[in-house]
Amino acid sequence: MLITRKAEFSASHFCRLAELSDAENLAIFGEEAHPSGHGHNFVVEVSVEGQPDPITGMIVDLKELKDILEHEIVLPMDHRFLNYEVEPFGKVVPTTANIALEIWRRLEKQFQAAHFQLARVRLFETPDLYVDVTHPVGQ
């Protein structure tokens, strides 16, 4: 059984590789490459897998899940410039896919301690574009 909780953060970013020219960056990343940066209202849906506890009827304590999302995603990323203020995006291009992978990594670490089984991270950059990360992570 899956339970999904949603969180939102608004952040700015740009997607470009320093070693490439403006024209090359534009060809790869489109408008996302503009060096001044721009923003999105990111929406992340985090799904946890498990069975309802026979006593509480809950898969997870939603308060605990909400706190983890708040600490790992919203507080560090909301109203931030990802390239300058959030690791590893000083070096890694903050594409939707890379942000989703970073959210997966951050949550997985915390979920192990909380005995939550992370099933899926779905990150919407806009209502028309999202990335899903599920097991096994990678390619």
Partner: protein, 160 residues
Amino acid sequence: MISLTRRYHFPASHRLHSPMLSDEENTRLYGKCNNPYGHGHDYALKLTVTGDLDSETGLFMPLSRLDEFVRAKILRLFAYRNINVDVPQFETLVPTTENVVKVIGELVCEHWQEYFGDLRVRVSRVHVQETERNGFELLLAAPEIKIASAERNESVMVHA
């Protein structure tokens, strides 16, 4: 696993009418959708791509390439068109959304190599939303194609 889903929109009109059935049977089966003048929807098409993420760019591909592919091979055929009249695949095929998603899936598969043969990416899912309440999806897990009609709780297997 990592996948990226991009949503596109196309307004189009259609009429559900099977030449194999009598007028009475068509009316009974398709109801309002059998209106002789047709009617329209704002369709939403979602394509899900998966495969190798370029480790340097963090992209499966420049999104402009995907957009250009969808524009050239799908939207150009369907957007602002009457599906029964303007899309050749529907000359003899009833344009139910099941058939629309199937034809779009076939077009995607037919032209994918030509556009993305240089990359290790593939389409894993095609989803067409006819209205907020009706969505149909094709899961492309080679070598067979699965059709699941989410809202009606049916699923059909089609061998590619």
